[in-house]
Structure formats: structure tokens, C-alpha cells
């Protein structure tokens, strides 16, 4: 019992390791590196254009540090059966939660430091910063994160569960106040305030004084793990991510438009795509992001490259839908051939990627109605959609059916 947390942490690491390995195997990640590279390049190009003393720069920094405090949640690693099996363990659970708190603190602070480093060049460009104030800013970020995590301990305790809503509000509100004092006042004042808040939250939310609220703790941890899995699900198939389902009656017309009448697999795939928030969510988000990006980027070759890249990314996100329903025994019972199933999926893939590609190409017209850009992207998109839905699709499906 005493080393339960370290055992769980080890298992958790193994799981993460397994998924990270899969992530770095996929070409999706190369595309993401490309995107990050473009972002970093854009950031470095943007900074010299900024003058000192912009009215909004301090507000932006305050906002950045408030959001930064929210990143890195309390990882308790509790599991659904725990309330039953660990019911009699009271003092051990306090110890367990202290360990969990330490583990989460290390991870959270690392991310906080990284985020603070990203903001540093911007702050140095727009603000006058002495060495002391730079140190103070880092201290503020670190202490804010620590008190945020202490509050998270309170959130899963029986003592505080009734005030859940207020604590959630405090997790946003207090970092915001500290950040405003830091950037609109002085970093040293911010650091003093952050220290006071930290002392109070350590006093209030010490796990030794709290009793775990199992229902909330399990729910919170489930949600956290779900978002971890959802991240990995961008790159590879995670069995635990089924996604939520929404009725979306307003999309009935779209469903009818995409379904091939009388084809059971088409029927199933279309509804799976439209109603499962997971795949449709990522497709919609990526499409909107792509439209904004190609709308704004004025460099012709970069614009076309980004358009091609986004269409590829979106098409790859559709692939897991192919075996989405394999867990349901009835899909194996239908008297329908595999070729029919593949053809139905391909049909859907063609329709969706063509639609997405069309939207992105239209957006690439940009503010100045750049018809040349539009023409280049249109030709590229048509070639790409054909290649993706014929060659790439064949390869992926072959790989999938070999794995099974």
C-alpha cells in the first residue's frame, strides 16, 4: 500500500512511453514540427516590428501568465475501483495524495518554466526589465502554479467539495489578480502577493487535513486521463477514446447528403463521423484553423505548402473512422463484403476531403482576392485529394488490415 503511488506512476510512465513512441513514429508529427517551426519563425519575425510601450502588451502578458497557471493538472492516478478497494485506507490515502501532489508539481512547474521562457523575449522587447524583475516574474509563475495545484487538492476533498464552484473560480481569478499586479504594478509586488497566496493555500488545502471525495476524485482523474488519451489519439488509435456523441439534428441534411442509400457501411460511417465529437471536432477545428492561416499568410509558396499540409492532416484524422466500429460484433455479422465496406468508406473520404479542400482553397483568396494563389492551391488540392483518397487510403487500409 505504501508504494502504491510509485507503482502507479511507473505504470503511467510506461503507458506514456508507449504512446510517445507511437507519436514519434507517425508522419503527422513531422507535419506538426513544421507547423511549430513556422510559428517560431513567425514569432521571431514579429518581435522586431514591435515598439516599446504598447498599451496592450502588459495585458497580453497578464493573460498569458494566467492561462499558463492552468496548464499541468493534478495527476492523482486514482482509478474507478479505488473507492471500493481502498475504502478503509484513510491515512495512506493522505500520503498517497501528497506523493501525487509532488509528482504533479514537478511536471506542472516544468511546463510553467517553459511557458515563461516563451514569453520572455516578448516581455524584454516591450517592457523595461531589470534582472531582479525577471527573477521575480519567474518566481511569480512558479508560486502561482504551486498554489493552483494546492487548490486542486482541495477540489477533490470532502471538506471543500461543496465550494467546488468557488475554488474553480479561484483557480482562474487568483492567478489573474497576481498577474495583473505583476505586470501593471511591479514584478516584486506580484511575487510578494504570490507568496502570501501560496502560504494560505498550503495551509488550507494540506492533504493531511483533508478527506478524499472519491466520486469527484475519480471523475476528475478520468477526465484528465481522457484528455491525455485524446491528445495521443491525434496520432494513433487509443482504444479508450470513444468520443462523446451528440445528436446534432441540425446536421440531418448533411447526413442524408453523404449517405449512399441502401449501403449499411455508408449509413454507419456517416453517422459516426457527424455525431462522434472526436473526429468531427478535430476535422472542424483543423479546417477552421487552416482557413484562417491560408487567409492570412501572404507568401505564395508558404501559403500553398500550408494548404497542402492541412489537407493532408485532416485526411489522416479521418482514417481511424475506418475501424471505429470493429468492437461491435454486429459489424462482423452483416452480410456485406469487405470490398463493399472499403468502397463505402472511400466514398465518404472523397466527399469529406474534397469539401474540406474546397473550403481551404476558397479561404486562400485572402483579403486581397488573390486569384493566382487561389488557382495554384486549387490545382494542388485536386491532385492531393486524388492521391490521398486513392493511393494513401489503400496503403493505410492495407496496414490496418495487416495489424488485425
Amino acid at each position: 500500500m505504501s508504494n502504491l503511488f510509485s507503482k502507479r506512476r511507473q505504470r503511467h510512465f510506461m503507458l506514456l512511453l508507449k504512446y510517445w513512441r507511437l507519436v514519434f513514429n507517425d508522419h503527422f508529427v513531422i507535419a506538426l514540427f513544421f507547423l511549430f517551426g513556422a510559428l517560431a519563425y513567425g514569432y521571431s519575425q514579429w518581435l522586431p516590428q514591435l515598439g516599446p510601450h504598447l498599451w496592450w502588451s502588459r495585458w497580453l502578458l497578464a493573460l498569458w501568465f494566467t492561462v499558463l497557471a492552468q496548464i499541468g493538472r493534478l495527476a492523482t492516478l486514482v482509478e474507478r475501483p479505488d473507492p471500493v478497494f481502498l475504502l478503509p485506507q484513510v491515512s495512506h490515502m493522505q500520503r498517497y495524495l501528497r506523493q501525487a501532489g509532488r509528482y504533479s508539481l514537478i511536471l506542472g512547474e516544468l511546463m510553467t518554466l517553459a511557458g515563461a521562457f516563451v514569453a520572455l523575449p516578448f516581455a524584454l522587447t516591450t517592457e523595461k526589465m531589470t534582472t531582479i524583475s525577471i527573477v521575480a516574474v519567474f518566481l511569480v509563475a512558479v508560486m502561482t502554479k504551486a498554489s493552483w495545484l494546492e487548490t486542486a487538492q482541495g477540489l477533490i476533498s470532502q471538506q471543500w467539495v461543496r465550494y467546488r464552484r468557488w475554488l474553480r473560480l479561484a483557480q482562474w481569478g487568483i492567478p489573474l489578480v497576481i498577474a495583473l499586479v505583476t505586470w501593471l504594478g511591479t514584478p516584486v509586488m506580484g511575487a510578494v502577493l504570490a507568496l502570501v497566496v501560496l502560504v494560505i493555500s498550503v495551509y488550507l488545502f494540506n492533504p493531511n487535513k483533508l478527506t478524499i471525495d472519491w466520486r469527484t476524485a475519480v471523475k476528475t482523474e478520468d477526465d484528465r486521463m481522457y484528455s491525455v488519451y485524446r491528445f495521443f489519439n491525434l496520432f494513433t488509435d487509443v482504444p479508450k477514446v470513444q468520443g462523446n456523441v451528440k445528436r446534432r439534428s441540425w446536421a440531418n441534411g448533411l447526413i442524408r447528403l453523404l449517405t449512399v442509400p441502401g449501403h449499411p457501411w455508408s449509413y454507419l460511417y456517416v453517422r459516426g463521423l457527424v455525431r462522434n465529437t472526436d473526429i468531427s471536432g478535430i476535422v472542424i477545428r483543423l479546417t477552421l484553423l487552416a482557413m484562417v492561416v491560408v487567409f492570412l499568410v501572404p507568401i505564395t509558396w508558404l501559403n500553398s505548402a500550408l494548404a497542402v499540409l492541412f489537407i493532408y492532416l485532416i485526411a489522416t484524422q479521418l482514417m481511424p473512422l475506418f475501424d471505429q466500429f470493429d468492437g461491435n460484433v454486429f459489424t462482423h455479422l452483416y452480410p456485406v463484403s469487405f470490398d463493399q465496406r472499403r468502397a463505402d468508406f472511400q466514398g465518404l473520404l472523397i466527399r469529406v476531403t474534397a469539401l474540406v479542400a474546397l473550403l481551404i482553397v476558397l479561404a486562400s483568396l485572402g483579403m486581397g482576392l488573390n486569384w493566382q494563389q487561389f488557382g495554384i492551391n486549387l490545382v494542388l488540392a485536386i491532385i492531393e485529394v486524388v492521391l490521398l483518397t486513392r493511393l494513401y487510403f489503400r496503403v493505410r487500409i492495407k496496414k490496418l488490415s495487416e495489424e488485425n
Binding site: 470513444q242 456523441v245 445528436r247 441502401g262 449501403h263 449499411p264 449509413y267 454507419l268 453517422r271 459516426g272 455525431r275 462522434n276 466500429f325 461491435n328 460484433v329 454486429f330 462482423h332 455479422l333 452483416y334 452480410p335 456485406v336 463484403s337
Partner: protein
């Protein structure tokens, strides 16, 4: 001859769970598949519906073999699983429509049958709901509606009574009776022995992956030399004997 299983050896991995199982179900007949937990009932059913591939032996349905003619074979079976299996993404109406598409049924005729079934199980006002959020019993009713709406020649019903209210159990038995009259063969696995005794035409008792006994109730009584015993008692005797071996 509807379903015929000959010398089936099979299971999930290399290790056989079923050892030389033979049984048959004739058209218009309800055969009860009976056995303790882990006796091989569900494994047998998984072989019949084609989820598992036999190591050796043969399964034929009206002369069709699933390996040779999978589509024709599958068109002839309908399955009600032990635990309801539904699509999270589909409404009740869409589950029925998908089944119609999959089995290539005429929608108008199939909907007539479906409406009757839905009415019987008091689901007719829930057509636009997601059955994934229903209670266990109501989910089971959806599975029954989907299976009984088809014109399959063989119905496979795995442990159908769990979670069903008494009225629904009664209705289900009535539906099975009607299917039998229409010449459908029914294979049903169950632990509810007093119901099985009243409704099944024949029984197959499985133990440890083998057929321990088979026949009508009278034949089973003769076999154990226990003329007045109920199926429940015969089964208990056989099961205990099996454990002592």
C-alpha cells in the same frame, strides 16, 4: 436441416475450449443450450455466428458454410447477444434502418414488422432516442427488435432473459413461438431452466467444452434414470457428476 455442427473443435487462441461438439437445430425447433459458466455456450455461439474460426469440424446452415459463402450464410442468421451491443452514434430508428440495409430488407415491410415489435416492447415512442443511454432491459429489447425484424432462418439468442421484466419475458417467448411456426430454427442459451423446460423442444447440455447430454426432456430423464425430475434437477446432477470426475 437448418443448423448442423459436426465435431467442432474451437476456441479463442491455440487452446481449444470446445472439444468435439456436435449438435443440430431443425427448422421450427427451439433448442436450449445449457451449461455452467465457462462450459462453452458462448464459444459455441461465437463459432456459429462466425466470429471465431473452427480449428476443425464443420458448421453448416442449410448447406451453406461460412468460410465458402460468408454473405449468404450471414444473411440467414440473426443474433441477440448476452449483453446488449449498440452503436453510441445511432438512434433507435437508425439501428433498425441499419439492420434493414445490412440484411437487404424491403424497408416498408420491415418497418411494419418493426412497428409491431416496438409496440410490444413499449419502445414505439422512443424512436429518436439514443438507445446507448437506455436501461439494460430496454437495450435488450432493442436487440430483440433488430433480430426479430429480419427474415433470418436461424435465430441465435444468448441468455435473453437477464434484465427483462416479466411481461417482456412473456412477450419474447411468444415471439419465439411465432418464429418457430414460421419455420425458423432457434438456438437459445440460458440458465433460466424452468422456462427452458417449458419452452424448448430439445436440449444440449454442455460441460467443459463437451456435449454431456442431448435430447428432449423425456430422453434426458431416461438417460439419467430419473423419470420424474425437472430439467433443473437433472442439470444439477449432471453438473455435480461432472465436477466430481
Amino acid at each position: 436441416m437448418a443448423l448442423e455442427i459436426k465435431n467442432l473443435v474451437g476456441g479463442y487462441s491455440q487452446l481449444p475450449v470446445l472439444k468435439d461438439v456436435s449438435l443440430d437445430v431443425q427448422p421450427g425447433e427451439l433448442v436450449g443450450l445449457i451449461g455452467l459458466n465457462g462450459a462453452g455456450k458462448s464459444t459455441t455461439i461465437n463459432h456459429v455466428i462466425g466470429i471465431l474460426r473452427p480449428f476443425s469440424g464443420e458448421i453448416t446452415l442449410n448447406g451453406l458454410n461460412i468460410q465458402n459463402e460468408p454473405e449468404k450464410y450471414k444473411r440467414q442468421i440473426a443474433y441477440v447477444p448476452e449483453t446488449p451491443i449498440l452503436y453510441d452514434e445511432l438512434t433507435l430508428r437508425e439501428h433498425l434502418e441499419l439492420t434493414m440495409d445490412a440484411y437487404g430488407l424491403d424497408h416498408d415491410q420491415a418497418w411494419q414488422r418493426a412497428h409491431q415489435l416496438l409496440k410490444t416492447f413499449r419502445l414505439d415512442n422512443k424512436l429518436d432516442w439514443f438507445p446507448a443511454n437506455f436501461s439494460k432491459g430496454m437495450k435488450q429489447k432493442v436487440m430483440i427488435c433488430c433480430a426479430f425484424m429480419t427474415d433470418a432462418k436461424l435465430l441465435i439468442v444468448d441468455e435473453p432473459f437477464y434484465g427483462l421484466d416479466p411481461l417482456a419475458v412473456h412477450d419474447l417467448l411468444g415471439l419465439i413461438e411465432k418464429k418457430k411456426e414460421a419455420g425458423v430454427a432457434v438456438l437459445m442459451s440460458t440458465h433460466v431452466l424452468d422456462t427452458a423446460q417449458r419452452y424448448c423442444d430439445r436440449f444440449v447440455l454442455l460441460a467443459d467444452g463437451k456435449v454431456r447430454a442431448r435430447g428432449t426432456l423425456d430422453e434426458l430423464r431416461k438417460l439419467g434414470d430419473r423419470p420424474d425430475e425437472s430439467l433443473d434437477e437433472i442439470y444439477l446432477h449432471l453438473a455435480r457428476d461432472g465436477q466430481h470426475e
